[in-house]
Amino acid sequence: MTMADLEQTAARTENEQPLYRVAGVTRTYAQKGRIVKALMGVDLDIMPGEFVTIQGPTGGGKSTLLQLLGALDTPSTGSLLLDGRELASASAKELGRIRAEEIGFVFQGFNLIPTLTATQNVDMALEPLGVDRAQRRTRVAEALAHVGLDDRGDHLPTELSGGQQQRVAIARAIVKRPRVLLADEPTGNLDESMRDEILTLLESLCSEGITIIVVTHDSAVAQRATRRLRLAKGVVQDITK
């Protein structure tokens, strides 16, 4: 990102309410008979349109925080607001609806369904939304075109490279037009050139207004973000310089 981009983002966020407001969030769980404290009082605001990376050592709570932000899990204590709605006390059904409509996920292992083509994999994200068939076809085609795979819609995942599979996964995440895209090590399984392709794509989506939150070990990825967080021993630090 250029300095101009950063200044533009900073100016925009000053006038907006945070997309996420995390206050005093803890998350503990039992593992092999002992209590694991994954998050210990996280306080964090994330503004709409930010490109945030979360770094930190393995076991530091990065994925746990991403799952809380993605409404896949709920905090043990504390408050987690998404656009003013409390996720900590939301029902499973409500969390499912939020995931279906507002959150896109991208995984390190792509998590595509191996028996379905690229088009069908992307289409799966529209299944819970009740979009009619014609509109679905249009939106899926647009999403695949957006990631540069409009000519690979009929291919099975096994017929695509790692970078292409990740782009299909991103298409699946954006086809629902989410407010936030959460990515857990999205470039972890890719070589350097493919990593740059994916990061460029994420930057492009961010510039379109989608909030991007990426968990990564890779400093090269973090360098592309507008805001960098470090999570260690369950505590968040802002390390943006």
């Binding site: 995931r99 292992g109 998590n111 369904i113 994200a125």
Partner: protein, 487 residues
Amino acid sequence: MYGTYLRRELAGRKKQTVIVAIGLAIAIALVIVVNALTAGVRDAQAQALASVYGVGTDLTVTGAAVEPGQGEGPRFDFDADAGESDGETTTLAQSALRTDFLRGTLDSSVLDTVAATDGVAAASGALSLTNSTFSGEVPSGGFAQQDGEQPAAPEEGQSPPEGGQGSGGGSFGVDSFSVLGIDPAATSVGPLASAEVTDGRGFDGDDAEAFVALVDSTYAGTNEIAVGDTIDVAGSDVEVVGILGSTSDSADTAANVYLPLRTAQTLAGVDDVISTVYVQADSAASIDAVQSALADELPDATVTSQSELASTVSGSLSSATALITNLGAWLSAIVLAVAVLLSVLLTLSGVGRRTREFGTLKAIGWSNGRVVRQVAGESMVQGLIGGAVGLVLGIAGIVLINVLRPTVAASGAGQGVGPGGMGGGPTGGGAVFQSQPAADIVLQAPFTPWVLVAAVGLAVLGGLVAGAFGGWRAARLSPAEALRSVA
């Protein structure tokens, strides 16, 4: 998308789909074939009983069984000057008509008693007899006693022994056939209810005391008897006026020869007696009550229901019944249970392998219900495939059975007397014989539509049970935990 995903998943896991479908198909085919065979055996039993008791007979009333040692078999008594002698051998021939020596007879008034009982719609009486004909040559001075032993009576299915020849010996044989004396007017219930005249005529009111006979078509064919011929019954010439065939193409009629009841009584030299009363109840619901009432009215007689009669059917039909109702039913139940269990286990295993996939679906917003529907749908389609294949296999099995037309032998224990004979013995001596009617019945496996529908329903149910377990497991998955799965 639901259908596409379902189809792609089943096609992508061909091995599991094929194993589950084959397991269910075998189970369903077994259920169909065993049910068809059960129905076939039931029909065969009904045929066996109908051939003896007539169609529509609900109960029979017979004389009490003779106490062991009390029955006396047929005897042939010859005067010293009987037959024609050439000095060395004497040619003898004698025909005798006798009642079943193992079971007592009933006075004809029993028929009136039965007919007057509440719940009885129709009743007819019959007299079961055996005509035995002794013919051959014996030494004019009698047999030289060899070892003092009497010839043994032939057992069921054995050929009658022939008289020996040798020093002081003779040569003779004994032929016998079963005779049933029937009321010429009674055709709605009784042995004639399951028979039809195939040649000549049946009995009419004028035949009550006439020396006329109807002959079973199989017996007539074997012995080359035709309408207009005369046959020897108890030494009297009886004219054959008709040939009787069974209404079933797989069983003979109840006896070899039918006589009007009065004629049979006259020729047998018995009083106004009958062996059996065939009873038709006015409704299926009243059979038990009628049986109880008759047992009370006729304490010395034996009252038997159709279900009890069914248990008297012996031979390979009895073995087939036991085999199918016991082994067949258990086998199909066990195979069905194993197939459903296999289906459940494979579905659970499949859900286990797809943990991350379901976690991903939940992450992109799929509800638990949608995931459960997907898993259940896949299992149900596997069940449907199994059911369809099982239906084809089952129908093929039924067709094969009906093409092969296996036969089972059915014997009515203690009822009637069939063709048989006895061996020679000392002049003037007596011998005992016993034989029972045995008929080969073609085992048919009928199509029963509701069984076919139920069988497919069972397969779908099996798929649904597997899908319910698999769906339950998938629904319990926490999306966060599922995504952490490395499976």
